[in-house]
């Protein structure tokens, strides 16, 4: 059977890609579109390293078939920084020392970005719940919590309240 051509809008750009039905969205984004920022940590949806937004919903792209994303809007880690400027979430991760080996980071940043869009005033418990689907083996999470809470403040424009 010939490949199927699907349409994807990724980080605002439109693509027509020929895919096999068994290719995952992650594989397609990485191999066909060259957007290698999203990572495969487990291939079974258990670690979150492949997290991206699919029509605005956070998903583990390693278990989404590319053909199921036909016609959808996708946002990957490469789509966050605008005009060379880091998104406040990315900036906070850098400043708070929340980045070590970095392999979980693209997925973690996407999860944090998604959390803050849905809940601009998260408590620590909200943050821990929002990131529970993203495993990190290096940081022990503490500085990631600090980064997300700091990013929340910055996005709200708070001086320090919230």
């Amino acid at each position: 059977m010939p490949k199927r051509v699907i349409s994807l809008t990724v980080n605002g750009s439109s693509y027509e890609v020929a895919v096999e039905p068994w290719w995952t969205l992650l594989y397609t984004v990485r191999e066909e579109l060259g957007l290698t920022g999203s990572k495969e940590g487990c291939g079974t949806g258990d670690c979150g390293a492949c997290s991206m937004l699919l029509d605005g919903r956070l998903v583990t792209s390693c278990i989404v078939l590319a053909v199921e994303a036909d016609g959808c809007q996708v946002t990957t880690i490469e789509g966050l920084a605008q005009g060379g400027q880091l998104h406040p979430v990315q900036q906070a991760f850098v400043e708070k020392g929340a980045v070590q080996c970095g392999y979980c980071i693209p997925g973690m940043v996407m999860a944090a970005y998604d959390l803050l869009r849905r809940n601009p005033r998260p408590t620590l418990e909200d943050v821990r719940l929002g990131l529970a689907g993203n495993l990190c083996r290096c940081t022990g999470y503490t500085k990631i919590y600090e980064a997300v809470l700091a990013a929340a403040e910055r996005l709200r424009g708070d001086g320090g309240k919230g």
Binding site: D46, G102, R137, Y145
Partner: protein, 766 residues
Amino acid sequence: MARETTARPQFRHVGRPVDRIDATGKVTGKTVYGDDLRLPRLLHVKLVHAPLAHARIRRIDASKALAVPGVEAVITAADLPPHHVNPDARAQVLLARDEVLFYGQPVAAVLARDPYTAAYARDLVEVEYEELPAVVDPLEAMREDAPLARTAAIREADRSEEQGHITVEAEQQQAQSRPSNVSSTITFRRGDVEAGFAEADAVVEGTWRSAMVHQSYIEPHVIVADYDASGELSIWSSTQAPFHVRHEVARTLGLPEARVRVTATEVGGGFGGKIYLYEPLVAALAMCVRRPVKLAMSRKEDMLAATPAPQAVVQLKAGMKADGTLVALQARVVYDSGAFPGAPVLPGCLLIGGSYKCPNLDIQGFEVLTNKVSVGALRAPGAPHVAFALESAMDMLAQRLELDPLEVRLKNAVEKGDPLPSGQPYPAIGLKECLEAIARTDIWRERHRSRQRPNRGVGLAVGGWLGGLQPASATVGLNADGTINVTVGAADITGTNTSFAQIAAEELNVPLEMVSVVTGDTRTAPYAGMSAGSKTTYTVGRAVKLAAEDARQQILAIASQRLEVPVEELEMEDGVVRARGQPEKQVTFRELGRLTTGFGARYAPIVGRGAITARRQAPGFTAQVAEVEVDPDTGEVTVLRYAVAQDVGFAINPKSVEGQMQGGAAQGLGIALFEEMVYDEKGRLLNPNLLDYRLPTARDVPPIEAIIVEVPSEEGPYGARIVGEPSIVPGPAAVANAVADAVGARVFEAPITPERVLRALGKLQD
């Protein structure tokens, strides 16, 4: 959350929290890891993993696999180019040839144009096996009548890697004569333990079991290799040890090291599990097909066939006098090495007697072979297993004698000059200081109040690591525009390149932005040991400091000539060299850069060189405390608060150091509560995935308080000592002690699962 470190006015850069220089690439997804590499005509490798724990290979039929369009080759052991095979060394058995020794051992490699095709074809390779008896449990394996894990006895175990993690002079005896699954033993004795126990007012004993645990780096193993027509072998590997890989690959494949180039790609987590494993195989495959090949292991494959940490059984008996003096320690430590030797018996046996002064010791260690995947290093290899036993026993003794568990540890804690079980004396160390720091935490000070809440408890434990020693070198160069390049050969696993930037900027007194640090490959970078054994800053940092100092001298020498001012009267600041008191006499780094690199340049390029041998260790100790709540009816343990104090000598980048401490402590919590590789009675791994091998999530790990303690080392840069490993060590014991404090029942098996808690409470009727 972490506390701020106090500022150090005498330093401009070192000792200050600095953003990691590689962080921006990582948060934008730009950083290139091994699986992101693209090479023309790349072939993808999928390994055929044996489905039996012990078997003879009778026949391999690859015809169906080869018939799949897109498959370029199927390679078995017989097809590999001539190479040095050592059947006793895991990395030198590239593919199983006659005997499969563990479930998941690679027996063939499929090479195809894309990974889906390779995986599809892999399932079509037919292998005929003759099943052999497998031995799975290490204690069973030690019995006289146990089946042998390998049909041929060990002759030439390869323990070369171990010295990179922990450098100690002690002899591990290869078990001799009668064929047995015990491949080596080690003994440390001091004084007379029987007399010690007779003297003791309290004696406790127990058997502590620790499960097999996987490093679980989020990035599985990935290696790319290419062998071109001129005989140049290139390897890109997610490795912590590029020079070690070069050496071993060259040796195994019979190539000169000068023709082997190893690039350490950005490592997505190592923890000791990414030193050297499949590089010779992938290189050999590249030699077979004369095309670039990539092995990117899936999570399942990595869990089946990498090198996890061993399971261990530790029998410990400890005696203490009523005044809290530890008088006798007797231990029998068994590590299950899996199918190849390489278990951390030496560090384990050293460290079980390495935290406390104790006049009478009798420690015996055993390395046992079984038909399971062979083990490797995992952050302080061997140490958490023995700390689990020792630190639990200390609490049991303290309770029996009605002594405070922290005071009892302070009383016996090792100090400078105290001997390790091997006899070598400790240099300056900070175990006591760590305990004192924990004593000041809210968690510890509020423990009586915490205990008043039902089912809440507080528990404490300590641990340490000696660290490895390897030589290191670095260069610091001045560019044509006056900016600085630092080149090292050490893979940056933990933010060490940022620390090197701080060191170079400190010595040259320039803003951090003027310094760029790069890890070169083995052809372009000066030698460094593996980024393991917690010693990257300790060794390479010293070399960078020396190289920067050398560059400074060279700069001053040229400036002195140009300005006709003696070197002693020159000052260097922010890229300008000027005569003290005569500011108009100055020359900039930029001018010097031009003078040393342009056409007809008057002066030689400025290349600072630093090279060191490391002869003295700077051990790092840690003390940690956990506050937990236990549900006595379900056995669930929730960690409410956690603090880690660690002596790092001098924190060059406190932000990075805290991150290491918190990360290691969280791994300790994972081992304490959730992580366990489960093999069935036939030696098959039941949970090679991240669903049933449970890593702690954000909901499981509370914010961890990190307290940096600084007892300067004698040799490290600015007094720094080892950093990366100690923080993983006390976790299981701290949790076991906290659970015992909470509900009065002690668990002797890690992970401390809800079921084990209920059994300890006597609540399960089978």
